[in-house]
Symmetry: C4
Subunit: 305 residues, 4 copies
């Protein structure tokens, strides 16, 4: 048991009080950075890349409105008479609207030309606004490309981890599957760690030895098996003793995704409430005469032994 103690997890072993998870259910680490300005610890690029699509579109739209309002104000303060073709010459609100729409036409470089700058000042502002539009397009292109070309792992893990009979002993098992049709994962590699709470109320980390930690191509589902032998921190323990350890099992999957031509990463964490003792997974793929059917709705299907 001793040789298996893992000191390379990136987590410390010291603990003053207990209760927090190591890895959240969504695969992020349960860490909060403090003592540094939010501006430094936030990553704008990462945020724009990973926020939900509708939120991304709202951000784009708000920025579009904002830039146009700024330039509308500039046209207004330098004198709307610097532009020709404006209707409602005697109506301030109407004029502002015309300036705003002229601004949108300049920023997007659509430039109909009914309203167009005549005075030097208005011309300069329009020249700068169209450059801003130019660069905004470049930024939008980069962000959108960054969003849809960002390598992701399309992996689902089972919600549960089962403690079951295995080859005359016991084993822990969970499974995972790639749910996208063409995103084949090659050279998939999994590492599984466990954090337990010792009787002295400190954390201890172990690598869990797996029956198999590598597959050439993740074609069907993969049942990850940790046989509970003498090297396991769970060796010889009853269900009750395991619960006392408050184990949290963290799995790290990496592989090469052919569509992205890149290495992708997926993580999962199982806390004690995700353990099922005395259950086993049921098959989720079935050979047919012409092909094999992989039923993703059966990912969490378990049955009593």
């Amino acid at each position: 048991m001793i040789e298996n103690v893992n000191q390379d997890t990136g987590f410390g072993e010291r603990s003053t009080d207990m209760g927090g998870r190591m890895v959240n259910k969504d695969g992020t680490y349960n860490i909060r950075r403090i003592g540094i300005h939010v501006h430094h610890r936030m990553s704008n690029y990462q945020n724009m890349l990973t926020m939900p699509r509708w939120r991304f579109l709202i951000v784009i739209f708000l920025v579009y409105l904002l830039i146009n309002c700024v330039f509308t104000a500039l046209y207004w303060f330098t004198g709307p008479t610097g532009l020709e073709g404006i209707q409602h010459q005697d109506d301030a609100v109407g004029q502002l609207k015309e300036l705003f729409f002229f601004s949108t036409q300049t920023l997007t470089t659509v430039g109909y030309g009914r309203v167009n700058p005549v005075s030097e000042m208005a011309n300069w502002i329009a020249a700068i606004e169209s450059l801003v539009g130019f660069l905004s397009l470049a930024i939008a292109t980069g962000l959108l490309y960054g969003r849809f070309s960002r390598p992701r792992a399309f992996i689902r893990f089972s919600n549960l981890i089962v403690h079951t009979n295995y080859k005359g002993g016991k084993a822990l098992m969970f499974r995972l599957v790639c749910f996208k049709d063409d995103h084949l994962l090659m050279n998939a590699e999994i590492k599984v760690n466990v954090r337990i709470v010792t009787p002295e109320n400190t954390y201890r980390f172990y690598n869990l030895r797996l029956e198999r930690s590598h597959v050439d191509s993740l074609v069907l589902n993969w049942t990850v098996v940790h046989p509970i032998d003498e090297d396991s921190p769970f060796y010889g323990l009853s269900q009750k003793e395991i619960v006392t350890l408050q184990p949290e099992i963290a799995a790290n999957l990496t592989g090469f995704d052919e569509v992205y031509s890149s290495i992708v990463v997926a993580r999962m964490s199982y806390a004690i409430q995700d353990f099922k003792f005395g259950f086993k997974f049921l098959p989720m793929y079935f050979s047919k005469s012409k092909r094999t059917d992989l039923d993703l709705s059966k990912l969490n299907l378990i049955d009593q032994e």
Copy 2:
């Protein structure tokens, strides 16, 4: 033979009935995902990247028409009088056409300006349409760049696999070649698996040991040789016995492509009908006084021993 049993293929060993290929001729796996909404198992990005060029252009054109129809309808329902410069004022069809073409001019930001928005509503719609055009350009740029920068392996495999005499015994051989002039594959690595049907009517998988599974640079053709020795599942078997096993041989080639600066992958699968017993490959490159000629038309050229 036992030690060579491969459990890392990503395929299961269980089989209820037989007949389906493991890998299709085009290198995709013969798997169907079910139990999940098509929206989740489809990858739009991957589809847009890998569909044929003409189909991609048709999709782009249809999306262009669709967006313009939507905005044409918006201009129509908010009142075509919100736009100035429209001809055929008394002809509904003519008006619709003018609105449609105005829409195309706004979406592509060409904005001639003969027709241009005057009412607040029309101005808002135009402001939003030019933003949509802006973002569409960004998306189109990303997709097109994604398409032609997508790393691919320009590899052709021989259609056949030969069973031939080799160093006093027998061997299975197939060959492959890079068919593009400048796409040199470095650190090429091949893994070959075979799936056979056992007398008990289940599948069994083996790694096939190769005489050489790595080349530094894939400059000429590469003849992949599996010597049928004691470690081979085909050891001592006659042609008829091999046919009974219904072997399917799957090859997985990876390498670093210099043009894409990325790892690329190619796959091939040989079913029993692709086996040629008693044949051998003929040479396909020839040293000349000034260079070496590699004749790709001879890739499948075999002759009886």
Copy 3:
């Protein structure tokens, strides 16, 4: 000590006179390339990617002005009468300004159309200018995307390296932390070299053996420990003797960043003035009931043993 001599540092061992650092504080190497034209040893792409944001924007703006000035001159010399719609027909300065603003409208493809080319010559120049604008947009897009998608390591190293008691002997320790919330570094690997000055006044390089040189995931801070045992060039040396060696310690950290899906690199160098003898680092993370707090303001917090 001999077996640990490092000859793979990329640095030579010869030294005619002393004093220069091996690695600057910002992680760049303290090398000057001479005997080659600045044009060949400079990398424009790398410069545009790594210059500060405000400088990048100034460069973009100056290039924008420059291109417009060139085309303004071309319109002027081929005759401003080739354009229709110009106001101030009898004022040379006013005409020049109109030409300049027409140029900005063409380059950014906003094209209002009040001023537009009529003569063949003006039309040709405008046709070329809009193509230039087209390509400039493409270049700007590429540079901006290159800038914000460029993989960087968001790592801070401690400013100091401490010489402290450790497991009954002595050790050198420094620490590092990732300061961005979502940029998890996986498979982090560190290599630490030291360059010392021998009594014969030449340089000698050693690998420093580390207690741990790899972490699976760089979640919390990482204290890098070099135990001063028999293999260390500092074994048995007093503080004064160590100072005499004028050691410079260079650390090279690599890891896989999930956001960029790429390997990133960080470097640090400690000269003798960065050594603290008899100090130790204080903890910088604290387990709370619900999560762990990582306090980045405590990165350099040390205390006397």
Copy 4:
């Protein structure tokens, strides 16, 4: 000598007649692909990425002219009266020119609007042309980004390879250097092969064992040393005997470039006319008090022993 025979070079060992180089001076392999249509063995993307800058710009300009000519013809044949604002209504050549310039304004989406489409046919053509312009911009963006973000190795090899005294025996040495200021190569790895002509007039390939084949960071120049010991194909051979072997030495350098965050590759080949017997390289870097100077003009500086 036998154990060192290299069968992983990707080159065959068969040879009918002699004389051609294995690797050209520019690092490409001296292979010609035949028996396949040029369309299949050419890589357009790779061509557009690697052609010289001026040629790239000429291609872009010619494509621009071509597309405009095609659309000019379309406007012409569907009747130039479909466009309003055209001057020179009674002059066919003048009309054609107006159509051509209108086409450029549509393709680049500058759209001044003096000339603008009125008829349905002209409107359709303009709608399609602006879509083509849209997509062309996307393609141009992709190609330009692809060009300047394409990872390249900024490495210069010495023109010569010297045969010199080394540690009581003989050695072959060449050297290489990174000539760009910020493109640090990490984990540089070199493989060196030699092809010799045997007395039986066939080729034979050997790996050349190197004193050092890896450097952590390629900071200064790297002198690659092949000690001619019992494992070397040149062991105990005189200058004349070596010349008789007609050796060609091919070097393959790979490393991780920090600016591109990618692996880059450089190749060099030395034929017998590049060998210098009895010479040695002179130093090319010099330690100064504040830094080290690396003199790239001294890369090929040799002197008699």
